[in-house]
Structure formats: C-alpha cells, structure tokens
C-alpha cells in the first residue's frame, strides 16, 4: 500500500530528560523517526524538553519545540501547529502517557487530529493491566495469576490467593517505578501503598511470582496490511525478578528449540493483532518455567523501547525508522532493507553472532541505596557487544563497561555472606560472583540453584574460568602460549582481553600485544548484515572477532593462508571518532551528541568518518550516522586494532568525555595522531602543578589548594588553606567522591574513606569559596582566535556540582564587566594552552573576584545546551577547527550580538529510584539528565525549565521554609516577596523567628521531633506547595532528611539552596505577569543564520 496522502504534517512527542528507565534510546528512535518521515515528504513538528538530543537540532524537524512535556503545553502546540497526526510511540512512556492524557481531555478529537502508530484503544489495552489480561485470555495465552488493586483493602483481600512472594507493578509508571517484590505482609503493605501513590491511575497489579523463570523478549513489527515480522529474540541471563533494563541480556534466544521459539513467535503475532497495534513495533515479554515449559505473557509495550533500540543495533534492522514509515501507511515489503539494498524489510533478521548487553549502574553515587536488583529499574546505562560466541561477546561487554574490569577478574569477594548477598540476591556484581564461586569450587548446578541463571550461561562462564585456571596452573609453561598461535587465537576467540591475559601470565597487556604482533595474530572484522552473509551487505557495520585461518590447496601447497576480514578499508582521507561508551552519571547523552556532530562536520569537510562506540542506546551507533561503524569496546586494545586496519589520518578524542580522553596519551605513544588540542595541552590543564604554573603565567587566580598523600598532611594543608575545603581524589569523573568539609573531624573521616577508595592516587584539597557564583564557559579556539560560545551563570552556588546546577545563558545577574573579564580570561587560557577545538572553563565569582576552578580542553556537558540556546552548533564548529578550518573561515571570529531571549538548563535527578537516598545537592554529581526552558525573560525560562523537570512552580498556597542560620538574612526579601504575591509562609521555629523579627507574618510549625502537628502532617495533608530547605553540615542533613524524603514522596517541589529559592520567586513573578507560558519553535529564535559552520 502506498503511503498516506491524507496527512501532511505529523507531530512527534519526545521523551524529555534522561531518567533511569528512559535514556538516549529515545533520541536514537526519535531522530530516526523524524528523518524517516521527512524523507517521505511529511512535515514534522517535534516536542521535547531535552536540549542534549540530536532530535532537537533545528535541522531534524520542520518546527522544534524545546518546551515542557506537559498536557497544557502540548495542547497549545497542537492548537498552534494543527498537525494532521501525532506519532506517540517514539518518546517512551512519557509520550504515550501524554497522548493518553490529551486524548482523555478530548483535545485530539476536538482538533481532528489522528493518533498514528498506536491508537488510543490499543495503548489502553496494552497498558491497562485488566484489559491486557482479558485480551490475553481471548487469544488463549496465559498470564501469571494476578489481581488489579485499586486500594489497600482490596490488596489485602487478593494477596491470600496470590501468595508470597508477590510482585507489585504500578500501572502507567516509568521503567516500573514503585514496583517491587514482597516476601511478607509488611513489605507487601509498604510497596502497595507506594505503588498506588505513584501510579497515574492509582492501579497496582499484584502478581503471582514467576521469580527464577526464564525471561524472553520478542521485538515484533506489524504493517497496515497485517504483515507481522519478528525482528529479534532476546534471552535474559538474569531470570525473572530483575527488571529487563537491569538484566544482562543476550540475542538471539539461546536455549529454545525451534518448536518452543515458534510457539513464542506465534503468541507474539497473536498479541500484536489482539492489542491492535496496526502499524509499528512492539516489545513483548515472556516468562518460561524452566521445568515444564509453561509460558506466560508478562507485558507488552506498544511502542519503540530500550529493547527495540538494542534489537535494532543487534540485528541491523532499524526498528524506529521502519515503524515511522509503517505509521504513514507503507508496508514492510515496500521498504527496502538498507543494508542489503536488494531485499525488502519484510523479513526476519538472522544472526551469525551473539550479542550481549550488560547494564551499567551508579550505586557508587548513592552509597545509601540498596543495590539489590528488583523489578524496579536502577541502571543508568548499558553496553552492548558482539562476538561470534557468547563467551566472546560477554567478555567484550565486560571490558566495554569501563568499570575497571577486563574480564571475570574481580576476586575481592570476602564477605562471609557471599553466597547469600552476591549470588542468591540479584545484584550488579553477580556475574563476577558466579565466576568467583566457580573458582571456589561451586558446581554449575549449585550455582544454578542459588541464582536460577540458566545452566547454559553458567557452563559458558565455567569454560572461561576453566581456561584461566589451566593457564594459571601451567605456571612457567603458560608462557609457551605466547608462541603458540593457535592456542592464543583460541583464547582471544573466547573474548579474553590482552589486559586479562597479561594479568594471568604476569606480563602485562603490552606483553600480550607484543606476542600477538610477533605471531601476526590480529582481530578480524565481520559485518552485521541482517542475513548471516546470505546476501551481500553494503553498510560497513562491523565487530571484531578472532577466527581461524583457511587456505587453498594448489598443486599440493597451502596457499593464501589467511583469516577473513570484511573491513575492506577505503583509501579515502579518514578520521576515527571515539565515542563515550555507556551512559553513566557524569557522562551521558551530551557527549554522544558532540560525537555525532563531529561526525557530521568532518563528513562535510570530505572525511570518511569512522565511529567507535559500544553504547546501543545512542545516535552515534546508528549505522546511518558515520560512514563506518565499529561496535567495539573503547579500550586501548580494541581501538588500536581498528586503527591498525583503518589507518586513519588521526583520531578525535575530545568529544566523548573521559572515555576517549584517557586514551589520548596511550594512543599518541603508539604513534597515532590526535586531532585538535594535543595530549600535552590536555595534561597541562589536568596536572595540578602544571596548571598552577599556567595560571601564574597568565596572572589568573584560583582558590588556594594543596595535595596530600596522608591524613596528617591533609589536615596540615587544610589548616593553611582555611576551612571550608573541598576534597577529592586526583582522578575524578562527575565529581565522584568529592566532598566539602567544614572541620578537622570531617576531613579526617573523609580521608579514611577516600584513600581507601583509591590508594595510589593522592587527595586534592581546595579552598571552598562559600556563596560564590559559579560560571561555566564553553569556547572554541583555533590557535589564533577564540569564540566564546556561551557564558552560563549557575543558579545554585559554587560547590554544587556544575552538572547538578541549573544555569542561565546569558547570565542573569552578573555585571557586564565581570562577564567581559570572564571572556577575556577564557580567551587567554585557550590561546596559552594552544587549544584546537573545544574548551570548557569553570569560574567562581565572589564579589568582583574571579577564580578559575577548572579548565577542560574538550567537549563539556553543556555544549548541546549552548548550541540550542545560541543557534551556533559548537561541536560542529570545533570539529571543523580541528580539521584545520579557522574561526574566521567559519564566520565566528567576532563576537555576536546579544540575544533577546534567555535559556535556562535544569538538571533532573533519580532520587525517586533510590529509596533512602537524601536528595541534597553537593559536589558529587547525581543528576541523570537535563531540560531546557527558553523564553524572553529569566523568570519565564526558569519557570519552563522547572516545569519540564517536573518541579512545578507554585502560583498559590503555602511555602515552607527551614533554613540554616547562614541563609536566614538572605531569605527575608524572598519571603517578603512571596507574601506580597499572596502566598502563605510556614517555617520551622528558628526560621520563623527570624522572619518575624523582620516584621513578616508567618506561621510556625513543629519539626518532626517537636510534636504534632508537624511539617510531615502538612505535607501529607497537601497543605504545602513548595519547600525551601537549606542545611549546613552532615549532621543537619541527617536531621532534616525526613523533610526532603516526604516532599519527594508526596510530590511537593523543593529547593535545597537559597539561590534556587530566589530563582523560583522570579519565576513566580514572571508567571503572574504573563498569566501563562507561551511557546515558540527553536527555529524562530535563531532565524538569522550567523554562522557558516
């Protein structure tokens, strides 16, 4: 069937900020959808509040609204744009929920807009537990015994028949938020109460436990002509009970016979038809009893998902792109398979390799959180890896994680409770614990008993452990392997890294690399081609493996002995761009955004672009992004292998964050050219001593600082510098293990913990500038000129991690001469460091004094925000500069005229995921994502950013204050303004007293321990519309934690800084003035293209 001509304009809803359960896979999907629809000639309107996405680049859609994803805002956009259709299946649960909400308000019906991809009824059928169960019954499929519960009483009635353990799943929540497993009545009651509260429609599904069953997922697609295909089957390494996002998963399914697989396939087809997803993709999850083969349907997502992104990367079949085309009426057989060109998309990919995904967690950021994995997702990112065998792909995935592990090598499990805590209870170290248990003599069946992990996976791990053991037991003879090509090839084929082998043989990574070189033992590259080589493939989407050579017998001689490598490098001018690896707190989508821009820019300049990355969620690992894609771990070994095959002109390391940056020096040592700023300049900015010399030379100021290797030395240094001080280990990512300490006791305590964390690294001690304003600057330098892309003033004061702080571009309170001085200093630094490309500088402003906190000669987290706010694609500019263009040539040598708009970035946090974690901000980064608000005034832009981050700006009601003494003076004008605007003020006794002394009329309320009614009662009664809570030290943190915890639980917005409170007041004022938010596409803000980049 041809595509529809009755629709012309389509609106796509994005997924908003990166949160746990919804990450950059929706940027990948959404970007593909936008491109696919425009390719078919449709006009595309996009709504997404997340600036750090490729999809919100102005070129991707015809009109892009970087506006809050709320029903009110979306309704305004629909009114204004009047699209013919809305595609709600590309933006995760956020988009789907929003579509449902708007449908129920009757907006679509009133405006005559059609929902395509999934209609209202099918969304309801898939998402509403009761409707779903009924639908499954209609087609003769089993679901676990369960009950839909709308109240606590009802829940208590049903639990008797369902029994323990019981699984709780609130309906309509992100990534299973609020779900869990209850083993007893007490846990059940607690989880049920929480779930009812979190569910959009106060519905919780209480389910029969299928814990320990095998878990499978199928990715299904259906077109308008009712053709259905299965794109990928996935088998979970972690059995049922662990959220699939937190599970190690493997594609294709490994332990199903054809009959069992076909049964699941038939069920999937029946499900997509019964639910009524007319066009597009769905993800369907099954549980299988390993003893009897009983199969139950767990759930279905009638949209693209994290799993569909993984399946797309695992198979080479671009699900989102095809889904978008199906949504406008094309059928699968009308769409070509772009990898083989000759064959249509109406087929089922077949693999000749194994794909393994391992999630990446951030528990080190939340030490108070429980690391047990449950049905509520906790991971922040993932890696995928491809190998010819499961063993190979597993070991490649392990080293892709960048957690310091290069194989099944962690053996620090000494806990007596080891088998209980690390094996029986699912956790992020279980994979290594399994290997450890095998080394300790546990059998596969014993480990299976403890973990319920399928014996097939365990046996494969046993083979790896066995190989290690044989190598270790060989003692001195083990080194023979270094000259035994076949044996070494065998180990490499099992996925062993040089590093791990070097460890086992005691000769280091270099020793193995040298041995491989001498033997001529090289990785070969194979193509991901959707068809297991049945047809020729044209898309260079590659992965490495080790294969045995073959040869031809000619006149009795072995000729042409070789291993087959399909890389077929071109002779073009080319460059390798290293990606940023798995998303983690501190290094997320922003860096992928920069890498993708580098690819675009360098391709424009005529380079063949070669991307290396291992993160399946990203746009960078879309095989359509770079000219060539290597889906590989970002270790020195794997990168050198690629460089050996490709022989590029150089490598770009400055866009992917720390991951590629830490490879710069090792790569240079191997004679690889690094594009842009030299590794030496990077070192000059990172090495404390060299950096100080640099600042001295430029006569720039930095807070006093020192370095200490021992507790005594640290105490001494801090005394000289003066408290408070900021302390951290010398090697940091996203402010990890960084703390502000106010006295000797606290410092001594920190030193004990931090030094344990990294013994070979010293601890850095800096003067902490209290109440200073922090400023971030992103600039590009070509060695002669400097272009300052943006000066961002933080809302929260210095000391709060820049990634966690809201910021305003341009600055909203700084004097012009301060801003000019900041720019001058930035330029001086860039030129002195001979930066070629991007540079980020962090300043602290105290009064008129400007201090330099940090200089990073690389892409920063704020680059996409600056680009969206200013209309100058900074990363692209930088990439071009690195390739030799000058800023003059790019039309950016001079400063641009000021804007009439203002943009605010706000961070988004995962605190609701980690029960028991204090949502207080500090020097340790904790946010997972960001949103942008853009408007004509700071107040409005800030209000939008807050709304987009789901922190509603109050317009009426009572505001609660509980402040540390230091903030009390500054809070008086804030409170006064609030009173003037008609708000009520409630405060704890001390805070209230201060207000009263200044003549303000406020209510005072008890703290928790002071009797009833207290602040928690007010929260529970929903009497408070906003909370301002600032705390001085760690003890005060603990004492007031309950306030923030209850605020989170009852969904009351809060701020933990006085500057945040000030900004909120400004936002309220602006909102009151303008009555409501207004909307405007980003393309309108940057109408005059002033850059040729």
């Amino acid at each position: 069937m041809p595509k529809r001509t009755d629709i012309k304009k389509i609106l796509i809803i994005g997924s908003g900020p990166i949160v746990i359960g919804q990450a950059c896979e929706f940027d990948y999907s959404g970007t593909q959808a936008c491109k696919a629809l425009r390719e078919e000639g449709y006009q595309v309107v996009l709504v997404n509040s997340n600036p750090a996405t490729i999809m919100t680049d102005p070129e991707i859609a015809d009109a892009t609204y970087i506006e809050p994803l709320t029903a009110d805002v979306l309704e305004m956009i629909l009114e204004k744009e009047r699209p013919d259709a809305v595609l709600p299946t590309m933006g995760g649960q956020t988009a789907l929920n929003l579509a449902v909400e708007i449908w129920e308000k009757g907006v679509f019906q009133r405006l005559g807009i059609e929902l395509i991809g999934a209609n209202f009824n099918s969304i309801k059928k898939a998402e509403d537990r009761e409707l779903f169960r009924e639908a499954m019954r209609n087609i003769g499929l089993e679901v676990p015994g369960s009950a839909i519960v709308l109240s606590l009483e009802e829940g208590m009635r049903h639990i008797e028949e369902i029994g323990f353990p019981a699984i709780l799943r609130p309906a309509f929540t992100l990534g299973g938020t609020g779900g869990g497993i209850a083993y007893n009545m007490e846990e059940y009651r607690e989880l049920l109460e929480k779930g009812l509260k979190l569910s959009l429609n106060h519905q919780v599904l209480v389910e029969e436990s299928v814990l320990g069953w095998k878990e499978y997922e199928l990715e299904v697609m259906r077109d308008r002509a009712d053709n259905v295909v299965i794109i990928c089957s996935i088998e979970n390494f972690d059995p049922m009970g662990v959220h699939t996002g937190d599970s190690i998963t493997v594609a294709p399914a490994q332990t199903l016979t054809d009959k069992e697989y076909q049964r699941m396939r038939d069920a999937s087809i029946a499900i997509i038809r019964e639910i009524g997803v007319d066009t597009g993709g769905s993800n369907i999850q099954f549980a299988l009893d390993p003893q009897t083969g009983r199969m139950t349907v767990i759930e279905m997502n009638p949209r693209v998902s994290r799993s569909s992104a993984l399946a797309s990367k695992a198979t080479g079949f671009p699900i989102a792109k095809i889904a978008a085309k199906l949504a406008v009426g094309l059928t699968l057989n009308e769409i070509p398979n772009s990898i083989t060109r000759e064959t249509p998309a109406s087929f089922e990919p077949t693999l000749d390799y194994v794909v393994t995904k391992i999630p990446r967690f951030a528990f080190e950021k939340f030490p108070e959180a429980d690391p047990t994995l449950t049905t509520q997702m906790k991971s922040v990112g993932e890696v995928m890896s491809i190998g010819r065998t499961f063993k190979e792909s597993l070991q490649k995935a392990i080293r892709s994680l960048e957690t310091g592990s290069y194989g099944l090598d962690v053996s620090g499990f000494t806990d007596e409770e080891f088998f209980e805590t690390k094996l029986r209870r699912p956790n992020n170290e279980r994979l290594w614990a399994v290997a450890h248990a095998m080394r300790k003599g546990k059998s596969v069946s014993e480990i299976h008993e403890l973990t319920m992990i399928d014996p097939w996976f365990l046996e494969n791990i046993r083979q790896i452990v066995e190989a290690e053991r044989e190598l270790e037991e060989a003692g001195a003879k083990a080194k023979d392997i270094l000259s035994d090509r076949e044996a070494l090839n065998g180990l490499k084929g099992m996925g062993f890294s040089d590093r791990r082998l070097g460890q086992l043989l005691g000769i280091g990574e270099d020793g193995i690399r040298k041995a491989r070189k001498e033997l001529g033992l090289r990785a070969v590259y194979k193509m991901v081609d959707t068809c297991a080589a049945e047809f020729q493939a044209f898309t260079p989407y590659l992965y490495s493996t080790y294969e045995k050579p073959f040869y031809r017998l000619a006149s009795g001689e072995k000729t042409g002995v070789n291993t087959e490598c399909e890389a077929a490098p071109s002779g073009r001018k080319k460059v390798v761009i290293l990606g940023s690896g798995p998303n983690r707190i501190g290094q997320g989508i922003e860096f992928d955004y920069c890498c993708v821009h580098a690819v675009f820019a360098l391709r424009e300049l005529g380079y063949e672009t070669i991307m290396v990355n291992c993160n399946p969620e990203t746009v960078s690992t879309d095989y359509d992004t770079a000219d060539r894609l290597y889906f590989e771990p970002l270790t020195i070994e794997d990168v050198l292998n690629i460089i050996g095959v490709e022989r590029p002109e150089g490598v770009v390391v400055q866009f992917g964050g720390q991951t590629p940056l830490k490879l710069a020096i090792p790569l240079e040592r191997e004679g690889v050219k690094i594009f842009g700023t030299s590794p030496d300049s990077i070192d000059r900015a990172e090495d404390r001593k060299r950096f100080r010399e640099l600042l001295d030379k430029l006569a720039l100021r930095q807070p006093r600082s020192d370095t200490a290797f021992s507790v005594e030395k640290a105490l001494e240094a801090a005394k000289v510098i003066g408290y408070p001080v900021m302390v951290r280990p010398s090697y940091v990512l996203g402010g990890r293990a960084m703390e502000i300490v106010y006295d000797e006791d606290a410092l001594a305590g920190y030193m004990r913990r931090a030094v344990k964390a990294s013994p070979e690294h010293p601890v850095l001690i800096d003067k902490y500038l209290e109440d200073a304003t922090e400023v971030d600057v992103d600039a590009v330098c070509d060695g002669r000129d400097v272009f300052v892309g943006g000066v961002m003033e933080h809302i929260e004061e210095a000391g709060i991690h820049s990634g966690d702080s809201a910021c305003s571009l341009p600055p909203y309170s700084l004097d012009e001469d301060v801003v000019n001085e900041i720019k001058r200093q930035t330029a001086a630094l860039a030129l002195e460091l001979n930066v070629i490309g991007l540079m980020n500088v962090q300043f602290a402003i105290k009064g008129k004094d400007i201090y330099i906190l940090e200089v990073n000669p690389r892409a920063s987290r704020t680059v996409p925000f600056v680009s969206k706010a200013t209309g100058v694609p900074l990363a692209k500019v930088a990439a071009k500069v690195m390739a030799g263009k000058t800023l003059k040539e790019l039309g950016l040598a001079e400063e641009r005229s000021p804007f009439s708009h203002i943009a605010v970035k706000e961070a988004v946090f995962p605190f609701d995921r980690f029960h028991g974690v204090d949502p207080i901000l500090g020097p340790e980064m904790k946010s997972t994502g960001e949103v942008m608000g853009i408007d004509t005034s700071f107040g409005l832009a800030y209000a939008k950013a807050q709304t987009a981050s789901r922190s509603k700006i109050p317009t009426s009601g009572k505001i609660f204050f509980s402040l540390r003494d230091k903030d009390k003076p500054a809070s008086v004008p804030i409170a006064r303004k609030l009173l003037e605007m008609g708000f009520g003020i409630v405060a704890t006794k001390g805070t209230a007293k201060n207000f009263e002394e200044h003549g303000l009329k406020v209510e005072s309320v008890n703290k928790l321990m002071e009797g009833r009614p207290n602040v928690v009662d007010l929260l529970k009664n929903r009497e408070l519309s906003f909370i301002v809570n600032t705390i001085s030290d760690a003890r005060a943190h603990k004492d007031s934690f309950y306030i923030r915890q209850n605020a989170m639980q009852y969904g009351v917005p809060y701020t933990t800084t006085i500057s945040g409170a000030r900004a909120v007041v400004e936002a309220i004022e602006s909102l009151k003035k303008s009555k409501s938010l207004s909307i405007r596409p980003i393309q309108d803000y940057h109408k005059s293209p002033s850059s040729r980049a």
Binding site: D258, R294, L553
Partner: protein, 382 residues
C-alpha cells in the same frame, strides 16, 4: 591447546575448489562427503539434520552456537539424521532445555555415525559458497592427507547424479495419526476417526513428519506411500487428494515420480511441496533449474499472491521451477521477495497446487501453514 573448552581430534573440511578449513571433530569420527550448503536458521538443528531433503548434503549452520538445547525425541523430522555431515562455528556440549534431558547433539550425531566439524570460520565458508556456489566437500577426522581428501572430493559425482529419493523413502506404505506438537501435550495422536475427514495419500520422497502432522491437523486421514508407488496403485486407494512431498536431490532424476504425477493430475487434487512442487512442474512439461547456493533457512519473505500477504517461510531447496515455462497452464501463486524466484503455482484447469517453500515449518515460522487448509478447501470444493 584449546584452553577451557572441549578437547577433541582435529578435523578437516576440504571443498572441491581446493579450499581447506581446519577445525575440531565433533559427533562421529570419520569421514563425510556431500554437497556443502549453508542454512541460516538460528533454531531447529535437530529438524534440519533429520530432514531427508538434506540427504547427500553437508550442512553448515550460519548461526554460531550449536548444541545449546540438546536433542529430544519430539523434534526429528524423520527416523534418523539424513544430512551427511554437520559444520558449526562452536559446538556447546552442555545442553540446557526442559525437553532434552541431558542428551547432547554431539552424542546424537555419534550415535548415528554423522561426522561434524566445529571451530572453523563458518561465515567465511558461507561467503565462499555464496560467491562460488554450493559444491562438493569432505569432512574428515581420519584422513589427515589433504591431497587424498581433495582427490576424494574431485572423484565424487555431483549431487545431480544420485537418486537419493529411493534411499530416504519408506519402503512400505503406512498410516499416520500424529498431530502437531503443542504444549503441554507434546505430540498427541489425532482423535478417533471423525466425520468430515478427507483421505489423502502422501508420496514419501523423503517426507518430513511435520507435513504429515499438518495434514492431520487440517483434518485429513493420512496414508503414506513409497516414492515409487505407481499412480494406478494410488488411484486404487481412492483418496480425496494426493500430496507430493519434499525430498532430496535433483527433480530430474526422479522420473518415476514425474510420471506418477502426470497421471494423477486431473484425476485427483494434488498438492506438491518443495520437491513435490518441482515434480509437478516437470510433469506439466515445465523446466527446472539449479540455484547457485539454494535457499536454506527460516526467514525468507514470500508473498502469497492470492491474499497479498507476506509470509515468513521455511526454505530448503537448491532447485526451482521455471514457472514461466508453464505459461498458460498454471497461475503463479507465490513469489520469494528476496530474489524474486517463483515459489508457488496452481493449475488453471485441474485442482493442482504447489509451493516451493515449506509451509509445514519444522523448523521455521508457521506463517504459511494455512495452506494445508487451502488444500483441504480445494478438496471440499469438489
């Protein structure tokens, strides 16, 4: 050395064009010779091994992990493995599946004397076959002499020279009552003779059990007859319809089957599958040709031109009917969307229909299984 993994004897694979792969032996030690083809199914190795159509062929699986779920008593498609040899990237000797018990693929092959080779670059082999065509090859774990092996391969006649059908066909007629596999019953027998069942005689050219099960499922009483049963004998049985099954080798060698088909057309409704389809093509006076490397897998899209639906099909054939050579006699009913090959037809006059792919699946998707009901309707319409 082979650290950590199964230790075993060296094995060699030598192709007719002189290309050699060195690997490890698995399954039976010994030697196997035949036409080397590749199959792209990710599941169903037991069905593939026991599919009589693979007689005379050595199968290489493109999916890299084999043996994962072991073998069981329910999945064979015939009495015993028929493929001559088996080539895999990695054989995993530790099956895990609720139906297999602990029975491994390696033991199964050993039991049936089938030689296998593992540890070679099967993707390189597949690409080689794709580029240079299916060709004779030998697997050996007993003869280490490359020259000698190459000689054996070169001396071995091409597959077209054999009549494997005679070898794999049953020698006696028999009835069949087993229905399709389902959970939890497994392979249940068809119930007592119900009204409305139609009688079908199935020619066994190397028939897969799943064809018989599908016939039972679609409401037939099934009698299977040997490949060389003359048409007259079948007509004596007075069935409501006749099925011409799949089978190994070149259709041109089974002249007796072509002869029988010619006599049956017009007298009885006939349904041909795979080799049966090719036999019908020849019986109608058409021609057949050999594909470069055949279709073997479970993911080919085929359009059913009668419904406009795309079906994902199970495929296993090296030969094709040139349906255009039957212009005016048949209507094309199925087309392979991968390479445009013609994969189904029906006679314009007689109740005769056939498909090149495998609607019975086993292994592969069940999308096309409804065609057994179409055959049934063809009978009902009379």
């Amino acid at each position: 050395m082979g650290l950590g993994v199964r230790k075993s004897k060296k094995a060699l694979l030598v192709l007719k064009d002189g290309v050699v792969f060195e690997g490890k032996s698995f399954g039976a030690e010994g030697e196997a010779i035949g036409e080397v083809v590749f199959n792209t199914s990710m599941t169903g190795y037991q069905e593939i091994l026991t599919d009589p159509s693979y007689k005379g062929q050595i199968v290489t699986m493109t999916y890299s992990q084999m043996g994962n779920y072991g073998v069981n008593g329910e999945d064979p498609e015939s009495q015993a493995p028929c493929a001559e040899g088996f080539i895999v990237r990695e054989y995993l000797p530790f099956p895990s599946n609720w139906r297999s018990g602990k029975k491994s693929l390696g033991d199964y092959l050993k039991e049936h004397g089938i030689a296998g080779i593992e540890g070679i670059d099967t993707r390189a082999l597949t690409r080689h076959l794709r580029e240079h065509g299916a060709q004779t090859g030998v697997i050996s774990s007993v003869d280490p002499d490359l020259e000698s092996l190459l000689e054996k391969v070169r001396a071995f006649p091409d597959i077209g020279a054999f009549d494997f059908v005679k070898e794999v066909s049953s020698k006696e007629a028999f009835g069949w009552r087993q229905d399709l596999w389902r959970w939890p019953e497994g392979l249940a027998l068809q119930g007592e003779k119900a009204d409305g069942r139609k009688k079908v005689v199935a020619y066994d050219f190397g028939i897969k059990f799943n064809i018989l099960r599908n016939l039972v499922h679609a409401g037939f009483d099934v009698t299977v007859v040997p490949a060389q049963t003359p048409a007259e004998k079948v007509l004596e049985l007075d069935p409501d319809g006749v099925l011409l099954s799949n089978g190994p080798g070149d259709p041109q060698t089974v002249t007796y089957a072509v002869e029988a088909a010619r006599k049956l057309m017009g007298k009885k409704p006939v349904f041909g599958i795979c080799l049966g389809h090719q036999i019908l093509g020849l019986a109608m006076g058409g021609s057949t040709y050999k594909l470069k490397f055949g279709h073997h897998g479970g993911n080919h899209p085929v359009m059913d031109l009668l419904t406009g639906r795309v079906e994902i099909t199970s495929q296993n054939h090296n030969y094709c009917v040139d349906v255009k050579s039957l212009k005016g006699k048949v209507e094309l009913t199925h087309r392979n969307l991968y390479d445009g090959t013609e994969e189904g037809m029906r006679h314009v006059e007689f109740p005769v229909m056939s498909v090149q792919h495998h609607p019975e699946a086993g292994p592969g998707p069940n999308d096309a299984s409804h065609i057994f009901s179409r055959f049934r309707r063809l009978l009902d319409a009379r």
